[in-house]
Amino acid sequence: MVIERASATLSFYEWFPTAALSWLVVVGGVCLAALLIGWLATAVRHGPLAAARIVGRVLANAAVDVICISPRRVWALGWLAVRESIRRRGAVAVVFAVFIVVLMFAGWFLDPTSTHPARLYLSFVLTATSYLVLVLALFLSAFSLPSDIKSKTLHTVVTKPVRASEVVLGRILGFVAVGTLLLVVMGAMSYGFVVRWLSHSHELTVDNLRVVEQSAKDKPELHEGFTSRVREHRHKVTVDASGRGSVAMEKGHWHDFSAEQSRGKTIYRIGPAKGMLLARVPIYGTLRFLDRTGRKADKGVNVGYIWAYRSYIEGGKLAAAIWTFDGVTEEQFPEKQFPKGLPLEMTIEVFRTYKGYTGDPDNIPGIPGSLSIRNPKTGKWVEARIFTAKEFTTDVLYIPRELETSDRRKLDLFADLIVDGKLEVSLRCMQRQQYFGAAQADLYLRARDSSFTLNFIKGYVGIWLQMVLIIGFGVLFSTFLSGAVAAIATLGVLVGGLFRSFMFNLAASQLMNEEGLKEVGREKVMGGGPIEAAIRMLTHQNLITDMEPGLRTTVAKMVDVVLSLGMYVTASILPGFWDYSFADYVAYGFDISSHTILQSACSALGYLVPLFVAAYLFLKTREVAR
């Protein structure tokens, strides 16, 4: 699974201090700027001293309005928002109806030949839920207050002892309650849908098996065959003479196999699907590289892909990708539970400088690679596994507990090679002129699995956080914009948030040179800024060649710098909605750690507090009757 966020691998306690400090600096700066602008605007009309008094009074009133919030009034206003959403606006019913229809007919358009049906179904339900709930949250939050102001129903509310802070908070909480209820129902239905559609079994009879020819006469008899075809696939089955068998993995799952004798006949039973609905708890390490001469390098080789998520190591050289794991103990991997050794899962990419094969045309060899373990104290490497790279899938390998050095000494993995919980695993490509690509999250230790159901729920927590943010922005915009404009503004925030990374890269490409981009971890976006890109489009120029020097180019670049600055600031303010999406974790079967949830929740709260304060100030300073 791709994990591009560096913070995703940090614990909450490592992440929080820096994040909190950044938040304080940004919010403090924005508050000071807002105070200054407010004072200047007031001073123009009333003079500087009077303006200072007015601003002071506004701040004092704001403090009172926030501190003296009445829970009963907030509850009343929230309950009103819930009833309004359900009774007055048919949006909730429409969204729910659309969801039901989509689920009912999902089987018609979900690809039955998918190699990973679990990923497909889980991605589908999470994405469908996410889009529907976010759209609903957008419309509810953006249109509610403007509608009340237009119909003047708000007049009968604000002429009661109701503070603007209570109006804002009540709306936010009310819509969050409606969205949460809908999410719970949709989540439960999605869970049932996924489990129902993925659960299946196969049939196997004696007639499906044939004897496998053995090259050696003393080898036991083996039977092989295939199960019945269900859901566009079947499994290869191997049964030995004693009746023990195994069902091979297919489409990301396998089944248990059992055989029994009944009335002189052998009956084979294939159990329910296993291995599809997972929540792996990976132990990630930190990744570093060695170049082709064996020296330390910042990164691996760039083979020319635009997406630089993975770095590549050259085969047949001293180049290596080395993962260092901390806190690895034998208690985490007891021998009884892990008899084959230390479980390691790996997803690597292969880049070929030449294609083709030698040897048997029916047996195309893959690219060989090796995994080695390094003793951190002595620095010596011990080769642990030779493997053939499996592309586009996650390979499961086991590091044996007992390893042999080149001089045939036996070493125990935990006793001799893991020191103070530190384990180093090195990956090398063994074929010249071929490359292995790897990122930090591509190799991990798999200690245990968490509950899939709990992980599924955590996936919906991510959608819930996105929904809460949309509601916050929607309510904010609705305090000073009309309904339609507030909806467009909120949609702009959503789209901008989804493309936040691209906006950062685009802006940084205009504001920084190559080294600067490297320092801040940004990628260069070819084609220039907005004005230059428009000129290139109109003049049919490609992205790579430089623009012709001249006044037009100079002016375009200057304007682009200004626009890029604005884009950079905007991207810095917008929430990265992808950061709150845990759909990939659930679909790919990785546990969403509590640290990740806490980080996301804190981050969302970091947005909601200023959104609430800003919405309160806009509503408070607004003439409701105008």
Partner: protein, 315 residues
């Protein structure tokens, strides 16, 4: 003494209250209210009259904090009109029933009761009493979107009284009510006044205002044109109406003497009153003819006192 002091307590006070509507660029569009100085005292029914666009509703909205003054001040119970806490003691009946149509009557009153931080028991009792009072017990569970205009006005009145307010602002309270409903509304206003509440009402229905108001103010194009007690304002000074016998004061005395001499009975010998409608229209006409001037001079009550003292001196 305390009762007198309480009665003379100023509940609403506007000082040079001005409201100018501006466009997006800050240019003046409409001057809705100009330098309004007004006082409403505790326990009185005060009427705010004026043609459309005269600034009545703007005045009420400024008092409630729904609009902010361009200059001047509006004080309610001694506090600035934009302070939320003053609303604890206020009830407001809007011009139309701007209520949430997806709620029923009980839910509506319960909701507004919660906004006053009333306990569940209080809300329940108050909801029951008010729905009974406005005569909508039979429709308590129906959503307001199914209500007629008159029914909606009744519920609007109920929500205005949910907190048993000291000051009640009524914007066109009898609009949409049938004659019986109108009579009931007027009786209610008088009853509330007798309970010591202060009522400020706007209305175009001059007969209704005449029936219930103690004092009135007449606005035209944002300016205060007339202010005083109803009976004083409606008095026609240059006309002496003799109901039985008599002409001038001397003649009246002679007439009285003559009547007494002739053993007659003086039914009334006083200045006649015109109707409020006539007064209203006359003032508007005079204001059109003389814009920018208050044509009737100082408040009538004070004028009367001055005349009375002069008469005594003469006498």
């Amino acid at each position: 003494m305390q009762s007198d002091a309480r009665q003379s307590e100023v509940v609403i006070e506007t000082r040079n209250l001005t409201k100018v509507y501006r466009d997006f660029w800050g240019r003046q569009k409409v001057r809705a209210l100009k330098a309004l100085d007004l006082e409403v005292r505790r326990g009185e029914v005060f009427g705010l009259l004026g043609p459309n666009g005269s600034g009545k509703t703007t005045t009420i909205k400024l008092m409630l904090g729904l609009l902010f003054p361009t200059s001047g001040q509006a004080l309610v119970f001694g506090r600035d009109a934009t302070e939320v806490t003053k609303n604890e003691r206020i009830g407001y009946l809007t011009e139309e029933s701007y209520l949430y149509r997806f709620l029923n009557a009980e839910e509506t009153l319960d909701f507004y009761g919660r906004l006053f931080d009333m306990s569940r028991a209080q809300r329940r009792q108050r909801t029951f009493d008010l729905i009974e009072m406005v005569g909508l017990d039979w429709a308590r569970k129906r959503q307001l979107k199914e209500y007629s205009k008159g029914m909606a006005r009744r519920i609007g009145l109920a929500q205005a009284l949910i907190n048993d307010p000291e000051l009640i602002l009524l914007d066109e309270p009898t609009t949409g009510l049938d004659p019986i409903g109108t009579r009931e509304m007027k009786d209610l206003i008088l009853r509330l006044r007798d309970e010591g509440k202060t009522i400020l009402l706007c209305s175009h229905l001059l007969a209704d205002v005449q029936d219930v108001c103690d004092r009135i103010a007449i606005l035209y194009q944002g300016e205060l044109k007339e202010l005083g007690r109803v009976e004083d304002l409606l008095k026609v000074r240059d006309v002496t109406e003799i109901c039985s016998r008599g002409l001038s004061k001397e003649a009246q005395r002679e007439v009285r003497a003559v009547i007494a001499k002739h053993n007659g009975e003086v039914l009334s010998m006083d200045n006649p009153t015109t109707t409020l409608e006539r007064l209203f229209l006359d003032i508007i006409e005079e204001s059109k003819a003389h814009p920018g001037r208050r044509v009737r001079g100082v408040e009538r009550g004070k004028e009367e006192k001055g005349e009375g003292r002069r008469e005594k001196g003469e006498g």
